[in-house]
């Protein structure tokens, strides 16, 4: 129930990868035949990834993951623009609920002299399109808004953002790490210029990701070296990883509709049943939410305890509670949707995956209310 954190590598993906560890271990940049085979495999994967998001293969840049892709997108555009003579291009617009890959990068951009507007979100986690348009100034060069939120699953209005970005001639980047494989994506229809995706969220291996870069969009590299990926991202190709990501995209595209239907079924069953618990609430948007995301909060109990109790019953879940974070900080996403810290600390994220069954959700629905009740019986804040 925590497939939003990571997914197991699909058996078919593993099989596809294996020959590239030893049989075809060559460096894709070499001129001999060992390298040639690896090169062909990388290029084949490039096509498969491009197909997944309706892009062209020469618009795909392989990276080490979603975070690196976000860094390359934001810094790449900003540093490239800085080379221009005019002093404009100093303003970035993002949202308050971004993944740290974007949020921390934007904080860094502020430190080195850029201005960043963090758009607030409503109680369901949606940005306001009017507010986005108002925030655009002559200095704005980048809008970076996530496709779907990793905690509460809210899907942002991509088509509208893309339209506004295009009208104002501003580059539009989106972190689509959680959305890929759960929403059909067409970068052209949505006017997306830059898009980050990650392999390990879609049943591919860890350590591989992609930045989609629309033809004509120029970036400054942040990884100098041998000039791989048209000079945008130097580093010897991670051939097995790239092959795995390609296969994961191929499978993801074939199974997209079946996956979405399956996940939505289980998710809605979970939501309907869990909300029968007294004083339980759904976080995130009631309709515009990821097919696999169910995010709850329960009055008078704390999320880490809840998560560990579930763990004790064999159920893996996540929480936005401060007590479970490394820095003891409450989730910035839950605070941004207007929850009080004590409400945010009582939150629980269940994210479903392709391999979850009806029996899994039935088990959660059976076990969870009892755990909530036990913790409430222990809680001085529950006086009923």
């Amino acid at each position: 129930m925590d497939y939003g954190a990571s997914t197991p590598v699909d058996k078919e993906v593993i099989e596809e990868m294996i020959p590239y560890f030893d049989k075809f271990y060559g460096n894709p940049s070499s001129i001999h035949s060992f390298g040639r085979e690896a090169f062909d495999a990388v290029e084949e994967s490039r096509t498969k990834v491009a197909d997944m998001i309706c892009a062209k293969e020469d618009e795909i840049v392989f990276t080490s993951g979603g975070t690196e892709s976000d860094n390359l997108a934001i810094k790449g555009i900003a540093f490239r623009n800085k080379k221009k003579k005019d002093n404009k291009n100093t303003h970035i617009i993002t949202s308050a609920i971004e993944h740290p890959g974007v949020l921390s990068t934007c904080k860094y951009m502020e430190q080195i002299g850029f201005n960043v507007k963090y758009l607030p979100v409503d109680k369901n986690g949606l940005i306001d399109i009017g507010e986005l348009e108002d925030a655009i100034s002559k200095d704005t060069f980048l809008i970076t808004i996530m496709f779907a939120n990793n905690e509460i699953g809210t899907i942002e209005p991509m088509e509208k953002i893309g339209k506004i970005a295009k009208e104002h001639d501003v580059i539009f980047h989106t972190d689509a790490v959680q959305a890929v494989g759960k929403i059909p994506i067409d970068v052209n229809k949505l006017n997306i210029d830059l898009l980050a995706l990650s392999s390990h969220k879609i049943y591919g291996p860890k350590g591989v990701g992609v930045l989609y870069v629309r033809n004509g969009v120029k970036l400054q590299t942040i990884t100098h070296g041998g000039g791989h990926e048209k000079g945008l991202r130097s580093s010897t190709y991670n051939t097995p990883g790239i092959v795995g990501l390609g296969k994961a995209c191929e499978l993801g595209k074939t199974r997209l509709k079946a996956d979405i239907d399956h996940l939505k079924n289980l998710r809605d069953m979970l939501i309907n049943e869990v909300l029968k618990v007294e004083e339980s609430y759904l976080n995130g948007h009631p309709e515009k939410r990821l097919a696999n995301n169910a995010h709850f909060r329960f009055t008078a109990i704390e999320g880490e305890s809840l998560g560990l109790m579930l763990d004790g019953k064999g159920i893996a879940a996540a929480t936005g509670s401060a007590c479970s974070s490394k820095k003891l900080q409450t989730s910035h996403v839950l605070l941004a949707i207007g929850l009080k810290p004590e409400e945010a600390n009582g939150s629980l994220r269940l994210t479903l995956g392709r391999m979850n069954t009806k029996e899994d959700t039935e088990y959660v629905v059976e076990v969870l209310p009892e755990i909530v009740q036990n913790l409430r019986n222990m809680s001085p804040l529950w006086n009923r």
């Binding site: 998560g307 560990l308 007590c323 810290p341 600390n345």
Partner: protein, 126 residues
């Protein structure tokens, strides 16, 4: 998720001892606040300057619940003066240690007990 906690801590978290309230308790102490994620209330019954019974209610993480639970076991039958000398560190050590980040925020059980004893003494000034 739970590897940062000792087996003993997990035992006290999954099977907490002496949970609940004591009606007509001789002393009650509450510490913490819900914003930080931890609130603890200790209830004590006192007989001959000794803790005759102790129960707790805790809102918080696994460390908060486990420290509350083990403290009740450490103090039942103890003289009040001895109980007042139990420190946060004693509680953490009894559990075989706490993760560093939990030492301050979630280790309030001893404080709650001390408050309960003070409450008892305030009510029974001779």
């Amino acid at each position: 998720m739970s590897d940062m906690y000792t087996e003993k801590l997990k035992d006290h978290f999954f099977n907490p001892r002496n949970v609940g309230e004591i009606r007509n308790a001789d002393g009650v102490g509450t510490v913490g606040n819900p914003q930080c994620g931890d609130v603890m209330t200790m209830y004590i019954k006192v007989k001959d300057e000794k803790i005759d019974d102790i129960k707790f209610k805790t809102f918080g993480c696994a460390a908060a619940i486990a420290t509350s639970s083990i403290l009740t076991e450490m103090t039942i039958g103890k003289k009040l003066d001895e109980a007042l000398r139990i420190t946060r560190d004693d509680v953490a050590n009894e559990l075989g240690g706490l993760p560093a980040i939990k030492l301050h925020c979630s280790n309030l059980a001893a404080d709650a007990l001390h408050e309960a004893i003070k409450d008892y003494r305030k009510k029974n000034k001779k």
